[in-house]
C-alpha cells in the first residue's frame, strides 16, 4: 500500500466513523423523542425494545419465530435488489404462497407429512414466482418499470385473498372470513417436537428452512458464476452485457427466485403459525422485507442480522406496549427511522468518498454493494 493510498484509507475510516456516530445519534434522538412523547423513559424503553426480549427463553424464541417471515422476505428482496431488479411486490408474492399453502393444506387429510410438506413448499414457491412473472416479463421484454407493476399487484393479491375468504373459503356456518384449518400433516412441525427443551415455543421448521435458503443464496451469490452474473447485472447492466452476460435472462430468473422465496414465506406463516388463511396473514412482511434487505446491506449474512434485529424489535414493541404503555405502533417508527438514517448515512459516505477519490490514483475498488436505481435509458433491452 502506498503512503497516499494508506492516507486515503485512513481518512475514509475516520469519515466512516464520524458518519456512523452521526447516524446513531440521529436514531437515538428521533426514537428517544418519540419515547418521551409516549411518556416513557427512553432508557427503559430501549431496554424493553431491544434487550428484554433476549433475556428470557420464551421471548427469545418468540424473536426467532417473529424473525422467520422477515428472513424469508428480506432474502427475497435482497436477491432481487442485488441484481438491480426492484421487486417491491414481495407482499403480494407472499400472499399467493399463503393461498397455495392453505389450498393444499385443506385437502391432504391422512397423507404422510413427509410428502405433504415438500409439496406445499414447492407449490408456495411456484405461486410466488407466478405472481412475480408478469412484472418481470414486462420489465425485460418491454422495459416497463417493475417498481410500479410489482407494487400494484400487492393490493390485487390482498383482494384475491379477501375474495377467497369471503367467498368459497368462508366458514359455511358463520361466514367468518377464515379458511378452514389445514390438515394435520400440512402443519410445519414445531421445533419443540425435536428439541424438547424448547418447551411450548411456536418456533417451527420454517425458521430452519429460511436459514437454509439464505445459506444457499449466500453460496450462490458469492461463490458461483451465476452469483457473479447477478452482481454484475446489478452493478452495471451495460458492462454486464458487454462481457456477454444475458442481462434479461438473469433479471427474469432473479425475479422468479425472489418471488419464489417470498412465496415460501407465505407457506411458512400459514403452515407454521396461523394454520389457516386469514386476511391478516401478513401485516406487511413484504414491505418489512425491504427494510431487512437494506439494513442488511443486500448481503445474506446482513439479512440474517437485520431480520433477527427486527424480530427482536417486533417482540419488544409488543411487550413494551403492555409493560410500559407505549403504543406498539412505535415499533414501525423505530424500524422506518433506522432504514432512513442508514440509507442517508450510506449515501453521504459514498458521496464524500467519491469526491475525495476522484483522482486517477483511485484504488480501483468496485463501488459498494448497493446497486443504484437505473435510469430508464439503461433499462430498455437493446
Amino acid at each position: 500500500m502506498t503512503l497516499e493510498a494508506r492516507r486515503a484509507a485512513e481518512s475514509r475510516l475516520g469519515r466512516g466513523s464520524i458518519i456512523a456516530v452521526g447516524a446513531v445519534i440521529t436514531v437515538l434522538a428521533v426514537t428517544g423523542g418519540a419515547f418521551v412523547i409516549a411518556g416513557a423513559s427512553p432508557l427503559e424503553a430501549y431496554y424493553a425494545y431491544f434487550i428484554e426480549p433476549l433475556t428470557r427463553e420464551f421471548t427469545f424464541l418468540s424473536v426467532l419465530t417473529k424473525a422467520t417471515p422477515l428472513l424469508f422476505a428480506g432474502a427475497a428482496v435482497a436477491i432481487a435488489f442485488r441484481a438491480g431488479y426492484w421487486n417491491i411486490g414481495a407482499e403480494g408474492q407472499l400472499l399467493m404462497g399463503a393461498v397455495a399453502a392453505a389450498g393444499i393444506g385443506q385437502v391432504v387429510e391422512g397423507w404422510p407429512a413427509f410428502v405433504v410438506l415438500p409439496i406445499m413448499v414447492a407449490a408456495g414457491a411456484l405461486a410466488g414466482a407466478a405472481w412475480a412473472l408478469a412484472p418481470a416479463l414486462l420489465r425485460v421484454r418491454m422495459g416497463i418499470d417493475e417498481v410500479v407493476t410489482t407494487l400494484l399487484l400487492n393490493p390485487v393479491a390482498l383482494l384475491l385473498v379477501q375474495a377467497l375468504l369471503h367467498g368459497p373459503w368462508a366458514d359455511p356456518e358463520t361466514g367468518f372470513p377464515e379458511s378452514p384449518r389445514i390438515a394435520e400433516p400440512a402443519e410445519f412441525p414445531g421445533l419443540a417436537t425435536f428439541l424438547t427443551f424448547l418447551g411450548t415455543s411456536r418456533l417451527h421448521i420454517g425458521f430452519v428452512v429460511a436459514l437454509v435458503i439464505i445459506g444457499v443464496a449466500w453460496w450462490v451469490l458469492t461463490r458461483t458464476a451465476t452469483g457473479l452474473r447477478v452482481r454484475a447485472v446489478g452493478l452495471s447492466p451495460h458492462g454486464a452485457r458487454f462481457v456477454g452476460i444475458k442481462v434479461e435472462r438473469t433479471l427474469l430468473r432473479v425475479a422468479l427466485v425472489s418471488g419464489a422465496i417470498a412465496g415460501v414465506a407465505g407457506v411458512s406463516e400459514v403452515a407454521g403459525i396461523q394454520f389457516r388463511l386469514t386476511e391478516g396473514v401478513s401485516p406487511g412482511f413484504g414491505y418489512t422485507g425491504i427494510v431487512v434487505a437494506m439494513l442488511g446491506g443486500l448481503t445474506m449474512p446482513g439479512v440474517v442480522v437485520a431480520g433477527l434485529l427486527l424480530g427482536d424489535l417486533g417482540v419488544g414493541a409488543q411487550t413494551a406496549g403492555r409493560s410500559l404503555q407505549i403504543p406498539s405502533q412505535l415499533g414501525e417508527v423505530v424500524q422506518g427511522t433506522l432504514l432512513l438514517v442508514i440509507i442517508a448515512a450510506v449515501a453521504i459516505y459514498r458521496w464524500r468518498s467519491s469526491r475525495e477519490e476522484e483522482r486517477p490514483a483511485d484504488e480501483g475498488e468496485p463501488p459498494p454493494d448497493e446497486p443504484e436505481g437505473l435510469p430508464p435509458a439503461e433499462r430498455s433491452p437493446t
Partner: protein, 311 residues
C-alpha cells in the same frame, strides 16, 4: 338515469384524492424525483388533518374546523416533502428506498399519534366539510354537481393552475429543467437543489390535501388503513399520464369511474354474485395493462431517479 348520475357523481368524489395526489407526484417526478413517500404522505395528511380539525372543533372553531385541519395537513405535507428532499436531494440517497422508508415512517408516526391522541377505542368524529349543491333541483345534473368544495377546487382551480404553472411559468420551466437535465439547468443559473426541494414540498402539500380530503370531507373520521393503496395508484397514474397534468387527471377519472361502478354494482340487483373484490381489483389491473400497452416508449424525465451532484 339516476344510476348513471350516481356513478358520475361518485366518480368525481373518488377521483378527488387521486387528482391532488397525481398533481403532487407529477411535480416531484418532473423535477426528477420519484416520491414513493406519497402513500405515507397521504396517510399523514389524512390523520393529522383530522386530529387537528378535531381539536379545533373542540376548541370551538365550528364549521371552520375542517379547514384548520386542512392547513395542518398542508404543513405536514410540506414537511414530508422537505424530508424527502433531505434524503434524495441533499444526501443523494436511493429514491425508491427513501420513498418507501418515508411511507413506513409516516404511517407509523400517524398510527402512533393516533393511539396517543385518541386512546379510547370509541369512534371519534368531526362535522365534515359540507357538500355544495349549486344546481339543486335540476334533477340528474343536480346530483352530479352535488360535490365537496375541495372537489370543485381540485378540478376548477388546482388542475388548470398546476398545468399553467408547470407549463407556462419560469418556476415550471425550472422544475422541468432540473428534472430533464440538471447539469444544463445548473449552468443556466438555476439552483437545482432549491428547485427540487420546492417541487417536493409543493408535491407533498398536494398529496397531504388528497389524504385529508378523505377524513375531512368524505368520512369525517379517521380509520386505520384509510389510504388503502391510493398512493400507489397515483404512482401508476402519473406514468400512465406521461407526466402531464391533464392526462393524469383523465387517468384518475377512469380509475375512479371503475372503482365507483364496482361499489355501486354491489347493491345493484343481478350483480350481487360478482365478488366485490374482483371489481375492486379491476382498476389496478387496468392500470398495469395500460402501462403494458403504452409500451417501451414511455418518455421518462431525463434525470428520473438520478441524484444531482455538482462536480
Amino acid at each position: 338515469m339516476t344510476f348513471v348520475a350516481d356513478i358520475i357523481a361518485a366518480t368525481f368524489r373518488n377521483a378527488t384524492p387521486l387528482v391532488y395526489g397525481s398533481v403532487g407526484e407529477t411535480y416531484t417526478e418532473r423535477a426528477g424525483i420519484l416520491n414513493l413517500g406519497i402513500e405515507g404522505t397521504m396517510y399523514a395528511g389524512a390523520f393529522f388533518g383530522f386530529a387537528i380539525a378535531y381539536h379545533a372543533e373542540a376548541a370551538g372553531a365550528g364549521p371552520a374546523a375542517p379547514w384548520v385541519g386542512l392547513l395542518g395537513a398542508i404543513l405536514v405535507g410540506l414537511m414530508a416533502g422537505a424530508l424527502m428532499g433531505l434524503l434524495t436531494v441533499s444526501f443523494g440517497a436511493n429514491q425508491h428506498v427513501s420513498g418507501l422508508g418515508l411511507t413506513i415512517v409516516l404511517i407509523g408516526v400517524s398510527e402512533f399519534a393516533n393511539r396517543l391522541v385518541f386512546p379510547d377505542t370509541t369512534l371519534v368524529r368531526i362535522e365534515p366539510m359540507p357538500l355544495l349543491d349549486p344546481l339543486a333541483g335540476l334533477g340528474e345534473l343536480g346530483t352530479v354537481a352535488n360535490q365537496y368544495g375541495l372537489t370543485y377546487l381540485a378540478f376548477l382551480v388546482i388542475v388548470p393552475l398546476a398545468w399553467y404553472v408547470l407549463g407556462r411559468t419560469p418556476l415550471g420551466l425550472s422544475i422541468r429543467a432540473v428534472g430533464e437535465n440538471p447539469e444544463a439547468a445548473d449552468v443556466a443559473g438555476i439552483d437545482v437543489f432549491r428547485i427540487r426541494y420546492v417541487a417536493l414540498m409543493i408535491g407533498g402539500a398536494f398529496m397531504a390535501v388528497g389524504g385529508a380530503f378523505i377524513t375531512l370531507a368524505m368520512l369525517g373520521t379517521f380509520t386505520l388503513d384509510i389510504i388503502a393503496g391510493r398512493g400507489w395508484v397515483v404512482i401508476a397514474l402519473v406514468i400512465f399520464g406521461r407526466w402531464r397534468i391533464f392526462r393524469g387527471v383523465l387517468g384518475a377519472l377512469v380509475f375512479a369511474a371503475l372503482f365507483s361502478l364496482g361499489l355501486r354494482l354491489r347493491i345493484t340487483p343481478g350483480f350481487e354474485d360478482i365478488p366485490n373484490e374482483i371489481m375492486l381489483a379491476l382498476p389496478y389491473v387496468v392500470v398495469i395493462v395500460a402501462l403494458a400497452l403504452s409500451g417501451r416508449n414511455v418518455p421518462y424525465p431525463g434525470a428520473y431517479l438520478k441524484a444531482y451532484r455538482r462536480s
